[in-house]
């Protein structure tokens, strides 16, 4: 079950990022005809990022401690001290933006340039901060791997 949660967490993060790209494209081409689709895309972002938060948070609180100990004893201790410490707090940035996005798309984007700029900015920030969080997750995962590989090599010797 732990592995399912661990894999579902970044998967929903990626779905949220892709949906944010969808919102960005819809806002770039804002017309009366795609207003409902833009709002739907914004809700998809919110649902995906909130799901990633709940899954990742549950895994972090219940299962991360052993991995943290492994990382800190391995050759990449900064995978925790820098990347996990930053990631666990940086995650709240795309979360706040994803919660805000449905409010931002309430406006008539096709006739309100400032509202369109707001949606474009928020969607772009979700994509960029989301990619940073995904990248940090990859480094943390590799921090565990290099630690266990090193231990395994030493065990063989």
């Amino acid at each position: 079950m732990s592995d399912v949660i661990l894999l579902a967490h970044p998967a929903f993060g990626v779905f949220g990022i892709l949906a944010a790209v969808w919102v960005f494209v819809e806002a770039l081409n804002a017309r009366e005809q795609n207003a409902a689709r833009t709002r739907l895309a914004a809700w998809v972002v919110t649902v995906c990022i909130v799901t990633a938060w709940i899954l990742g948070g549950y895994w972090y609180v219940h299962y991360y401690a052993p991995d943290k100990a492994i990382i800190l004893k391995g050759p990449w201790p900064w995978a925790h001290t820098l990347f996990m410490e930053t990631k666990e707090h940086l995650f709240f940035v795309p979360l706040m933006l994803a919660l805000y996005l449905p409010f931002a798309v309430r406006d008539t984007l096709f006739s309100n340039k400032a509202a369109r700029n707001m949606v474009l900015a928020v969607a772009a920030l979700i994509v960029l901060s989301g990619l940073a969080v995904e990248g940090a997750g990859a480094v943390i995962s590799h921090g565990v791997k290099v630690a266990t590989v090193q231990t395994g090599v030493k065990g063989v010797e």
């Binding site: 948070g57 930053t86 709240f92 400032a114 920030l125």
Partner: protein, 109 residues
């Protein structure tokens, strides 16, 4: 004269403006809370005692700040005095400060 908006630029939807400002402040609050609890362990332990883990409390605190400020700004005239373009700049600036502030903190401290 407001130099941030074109003369005929329509304002943002009131909820969009209120919760946009709330999001910017919640993002900055999140960053400052991360710094403070990193250097002041009693706060970290207190937050952990509330929900079982400091990170869970941290996330819920962010949500409360976002929702509460959004409702307050929606029911007051605060956002009416901020131009739409300035609000966009505030939100983008808050995110940049948060990203740089968090990464730099855990590199340097």
């Amino acid at each position: 004269m407001n130099t941030n908006t074109a003369p005929n630029q329509p304002p943002l939807d009131r909820a969009a403006a209120a919760f946009g400002l709330a999001a910017a402040i919640a993002i900055l609050f999140n960053t400052v809370l991360a710094w403070v609890k990193d250097v002041y362990d009693p706060l970290n332990r207190f937050m952990a005692s509330l929900t079982g883990h400091h990170w869970t409390t941290h996330g819920l605190a962010d949500l409360v700040v976002f929702a509460a400020l959004g409702v307050i700004f929606l029911n007051t005239g605060v956002v009416d005095r901020i131009s739409p373009n300035r609000l966009v700049a505030l939100l983008v600036g808050a995110v940049i400060l948060a990203v740089v502030g968090l990464a730099a903190w855990f590199v340097l401290v």
